[in-house]
Symmetry: C2
Subunit: 222 residues, 2 copies
DNA sequence: TATATATTTTAGGCAAACCTAAAAACAATA
DNA sequence: TATTGTTTTTAGGTTTGCCTAAAATATATA
């Protein structure tokens, strides 16, 4: 198949198109790619032609682009590389959450399959990255898990924090204070009807968090 | 100073020029750079002009290039990155010795000072890479240690294996069999005058190795 | 539906990093 | 020293990935 090595640029376009396409289901406009990559629409058109010729996307003039099956496959591999590096940077090199994306953006283009496989093994085959996003496996398969809100739990049910919506500095600091991070176990103790805040058990302590805070934390039931 | 980000190409040229210059002491010919990088001499001349304009090297037309002080500084940082990644690939990702160079060649161009500092810390500030080459510290300083031959030891003196000269597959396999690797402790038991082979204690066993073999192993006295 | 506005494409250019072919400078040696 | 051979540079070309300006198409609105 298309086992041809892609350039860094091509990889970035493909990843962006995949992300905009909602898993390959939506047509993507030239303008939206332009905005995401900060590249002029005319240049995007150039690259669209190039990727089309390689059958990684299909393009209808003036209408938009759709990512192909082989395009999706490659995009998932790039995402896999990105997220594995993020786990490494966060868990091993002790980078903060908000510092890892940019570096992973560079590391993801180092193309050695063996490198990624060995890294995956070294990290013990993580399923999610530090942002809570799922990591595709070698075959590009993703473990879809239901992400729910804390308030969807019943009293005494437990969940694992799997996604933080709000990425602001202050929110990040709050979570740090509450010892809440991706992977933390949370038990619902009580729901307070008055203002929809919830009482939870986290890090062996019970705290009450507002509706707004709990809405910004997604969990998976266990 | 010249805190301008260099391209991957510029970094590769600078590293090669540094390596050819024997620590900045020798003038480097255009042809030698061409051969090492597998790039035509005409292209090398182009890049030499570019690096000269940035004061990373000095160039005398038709004579050769000398690396500047700031050029050396940058080259040492690239070498530092390369060797730290090699330690990571070998020690953590369990790559073989002979597989790491190519991948490190790519990783070395990911430019984040914090990344390298955190990696250095994670690896516990290693002094040598898996080939036995010294790793410059953050300031570009290198721990120079006398590398001697096993036969330079006196009877019962000990040394640490610090460099393997021959990089052939077969030699590598032989070392594996003898349990000799970078960092191994070797004690000289006897020198055999007849053919200059030596009897050594390695991995708690005594073996006799030929002059040829011992000449391909450099050690540092302890 | 006609017109204004927004989106996308085409056309032509530019810088980086390579190339080949030919000219210039240097080195070696008859 | 004149000639031959090697090394280096110059000159001009290519590809990649970007750009701006203008033309073509699609969409929105009066």
């Amino acid at each position: 198949m298309s086992n041809i090595k892609l350039s860094k640029s091509e990889e970035n376009y493909l990843k962006s198109i995949f992300n905009l396409s909602e898993f390959g289901n939506k047509q993507v406009s030239t303008n939206s790619i332009s905005k995401i990559l900060n590249i002029e629409p005319a240049s995007v058109t150039d690259m669209i032609k190039k990727l089309s010729k390689k059958n990684l996307i299909y393009h209808e003039k003036y209408k938009g682009s759709t990512i192909s099956k082989s395009g999706i496959k490659i995009a998932l591999q790039i995402i896999r590389r990105h997220r594995l590096w993020e786990v490494f940077l966060h868990d091993k090199l002790k980078f903060n959450w908000d510092e890892i994306h940019e570096i992973a953006e560079e590391l993801e283009h180092v193309s050695s399959e063996m490198l990624i496989d060995n890294l995956d093994k070294f990290l013990k085959y993580p399923k999610i990255d530090p942002h809570g996003d799922p990591i595709p496996n070698k075959l590009g398969e993703i473990d879809f898990v239901d992400k729910i809100s804390i308030s969807d739990l019943k009293i005494n049910e437990k969940g694992i924090v799997s996604r933080i919506i709000n990425e602001d500095e202050e929110f990040f600091n709050l979570l740090k204070k509450l010892k809440i991070e991706i992977g933390s176990e949370i038990t619902l103790i009580d729901k307070i009807d008055y203002d929809n805040s919830v009482e939870i058990l986290i890090d062996k302590k019970s705290v009450i968090i507002s509706k707004d805070i709990s809405n910004n934390i997604k969990i998976t039931k266990i």
